[in-house]
């Protein structure tokens, strides 16, 4: 007599098959990315790295500064606009400087800066390394006894660790000035009170928290973007130019999601 599998039993197995595979893949990728980062980080301190790091600081940091400052300016301006009217309802316009500076330094500065750098420099890291991979240039480096991780990945991670906190500081500063423009110049809040509140409410702990976040985001973004590009050829869903485009998309999406997850985790430790 034939045994019949219960429909509920089949769906139970399918569920565990799908989620089990996803979980195993996730753990595998996380492990691989952690090993990738640790190898690349150790190689930052090898000789002959400085010129490459300086070049990458220019690409990742200097060339992202204008877009980061533009976003910082408008973020501060929109915060000034929204918060002024909200605080005015409670007669607390004087708190405008405190709220803008703290929200920028603690949260918005590190997060938005990291997302902007991901969009501008992270995508190019993934695409550039991906193209080097599919055109055998990474293999060529290996054949020349040049460690591809040392030559391509380490300088990008080092440059990100240098650039992210600096760009975050720029973002915060320009954002506070943006808030001043709308809150004080356009909406007539007191300029003196605005800056007095900024100075009195921002503590070194807030700045340190923002700094730590930007360092964590630098590591996350540079590792994910370089990892996606470096292993472009291992993608099972595509090959060639298509794999580079998918790796670049994955690099940006995964980085942005990881920035937000890491932001919550780091904030919960800092609070």
């Amino acid at each position: 007599m034939e045994k019949r599998v219960q429909p509920s039993g089949i769906s139970f197995i399918v569920f565990f098959n799908v989620f089990g595979k996803l979980a195993i893949d996730l753990v595998n990728d996380l492990g691989a990315a952690a090993i990738f980062f640790s190898k690349a980080f150790r190689m930052i301190f090898r000789s002959k790295q400085l010129p490459e790091i300086v070049q990458q600081v220019y690409h990742i940091g200097a060339r992202s500064s204008s877009i980061v400052m533009l976003v910082g300016l408008f973020t501060g301006m929109v915060l000034g606009l929204q918060l002024y009217y909200t605080l005015a309802k409670f007669g607390s316009e004087g708190m405008l400087g405190s709220v803008i500076s703290l929200s920028l330094i603690r949260e918005l500065g590190p997060v938005l800066t990291a997302i902007m750098i991901t969009a501008r420099a992270g995508s190019s890291m993934a695409a550039e390394i991906g193209i080097l991979r599919i055109s055998e240039q990474i293999d060529a480096l290996y054949t020349m006894r040049i460690d591809p991780v040392r030559y391509l990945v380490s300088p990008r991670i080092a440059a990100s660790i240098i650039s992210f906190p600096l760009l975050t500081a720029f973002f915060d500063l320009i954002g506070i000035l943006g808030g001043y423009l709308t809150g004080v110049v356009l909406l007539s809040a007191s300029g003196g009170v605005y800056f007095a509140r900024v100075l009195s409410s921002v503590d070194i702990v807030d700045i340190r928290g923002g700094f730590i976040k930007s360092l964590v985001f630098a590591v996350i973004v540079s590792t994910i973007c370089c990892f996606q590009g470096y292993f472009t050829h291992m993608r099972s869903d595509s090959s060639g130019a298509k794999s580079v485009s998918l790796s670049t998309t994955s690099a940006v999406v995964v980085s942005c999601v990881m920035i937000l997850i890491a932001d919550y985790v780091v904030t919960s430790f800092l609070m």
């Binding site: 002959k48 055109s135 055998e136 240039q137 293999d139 060529a140 290996y142 054949t143 020349m144 006894r145 040049i146 030559y151």
Partner: protein
């Protein structure tokens, strides 16, 4: 017995369920050019990647001078790899770096040489590979042939002991194909490295190869000198080698070696040997020409000579084929040795007048070579009989070789 420089012992490599190399055994000897041939997907590039360590075998061992490379310690492995260069099929040049920087990259990153020493060495390689004017350009601004030379210069800049060439002539025209292969042979002599080539360019690659390795269905069907491969009784010989060789030599328009052999055999066996049959061996000093002119112009000279022989000896019923890189063997079935002497004398005068006097202008117009150079064309002849094999008549003809035409020019490029 000589220890091979590189030896594969029962090497097996699988990709998923596909076995690409199945218990492969082969030997590569020092200071030789070894050419690996086989159908697409036969595992030729996979073999090269095993030698340099980009891939490792699933089973079996690779030995370097008798020492298994998988058992080498870190320093020993690094030392082994420092002796090998790899020329990729698609060059793998860095588009964001200039030609100079591409060639300098391995020196800058892996040596302690000063910038001045690096510049001197890189410029020397750039001059040797005729890239002086391209030094400041990016790879995308260069032709395919020039990019190949940049990749070759980069591969040679570290003075490697072994150079692996993965299909170095892909996408090149016949002149450039021959130029790249003759450059490889020329540099191998000049720099003294061991070359391992993956190539399908028959017959050109046979002229420069000391050993041939034929891959067939995951294994090695043949390994040994080219001449032995012509006697190979294996499906690969029919299905692959002879189909690649074709009927004509792409460069000169002369017969392929295979067709030449067939016509030679039928000429001597159809009673022609009863009548007069004369063999002529024409030679140019190709190495000296390459040294003076560069490989491209030297190949251009060889092409012009081949075409002239094809046209003139064909009109009297003769047939010919390239025997080696600078030698052409011709058979004149209806001509005795006395008639052949007269014919060669007239041929030499015609060659001098119609080809060599224009060769300076031709090389300048075709490839821009303006250097002053000398060419000596030699010819030797002998009677051929029905029991003479080709190697024997070549030997006899070579012993009688004399200069039949020359080209010399003054320092301004004018003919003397």
């Amino acid at each position: 017995m000589e220890t091979p420089l590189i030896e594969f012992r029962d090497v097996t490599k699988r990709f998923g369920g596909l076995t690409v190399l199945d218990r492969v055994n082969l030997k590569i000897y020092e200071n030789q050019i070894t050419t690996i041939m086989g159908k697409s997907g036969a595992g030729k590039s996979v073999m090269l990647k095993h030698i340099i360590g980009l891939l490792s075998p699933d089973a079996g061992t690779i030995l370097f001078s008798g020492r298994p490379i998988n058992k080498m310690k870190m320093g020993e492995w690094d030392q082994y790899r420092s002796q090998i260069s790899y020329l990729f099929q698609h060059n793998a040049l860095f588009d964001s770096l200039t030609v100079f920087d591409n060639i300098a990259l391995p020196l800058r990153q892996t040596t302690v040489m000063s910038p001045k020493e690096i510049e001197k060495k890189v410029m020397a390689r750039i001059e040797q590979t005729e890239l002086t004017e391209a030094a400041g350009k990016y790879p995308t601004e260069l032709s395919g042939g020039m990019q190949k030379r940049v990749a070759l210069a980069r591969a040679l800049v570290t003075d490697p002991k072994i150079v692996l060439f993965d299909e170095p002539t892909t996408g090149q025209d016949p002149i450039r194909k021959n130029a790249i292969l003759s450059t490889t042979a020329h540099y191998r002599k000049k720099f003294g490295f061991t070359a391992v080539l993956v190539s399908h360019d028959i017959p050109d690659v046979f002229f420069i190869s000391d050993r041939i390795i034929l891959l067939w269905e995951g294994g090695v069907a043949f390994q040994g000198p080219y001449e032995e491969s012509t006697r190979l009784d294996h499906p690969m010989a029919e299905e692959f080698l002879r189909s690649l060789e074709g009927f004509q030599d792409e460069l000169t328009g002369l017969l392929s070696k295979q067709m030449f052999r067939a016509r030679y055999a039928s000429t001597l066996n159809q009673g022609q040997a009863e009548k007069a049959v004369t063999a002529l061996l024409f030679s140019v000093e190709f190495d000296l020409l390459t040294e003076a002119l560069g490989p491209l112009a030297a190949t251009e000279v060889l092409k012009a000579l081949g075409e002239y022989i094809h046209t003139n000896l064909g009109s009297v019923g003769g047939f010919s084929a390239r025997h080696s890189i600078g030698q052409i063997l011709a058979i004149l079935p209806y001509t005795d040795i006395h008639e052949a002497k007269q014919l060669v004398e007239n041929f030499g005068k015609g060659l001098q007048k119609e080809v060599l006097s224009n060769i300076q202008a031709l090389t300048k117009a075709n490839i821009g070579a303006t250097a002053c150079f000398e060419i000596y064309v030699y010819a030797g002849m002998t009677e051929a009989h029905s029991n003479d094999d080709i190697d024997r008549i070549i030997e006899k003809a070579r012993a009688n070789q004399e200069i039949i035409a020359t080209h010399r020019c003054d320092s301004k490029g004018g003919e003397i």
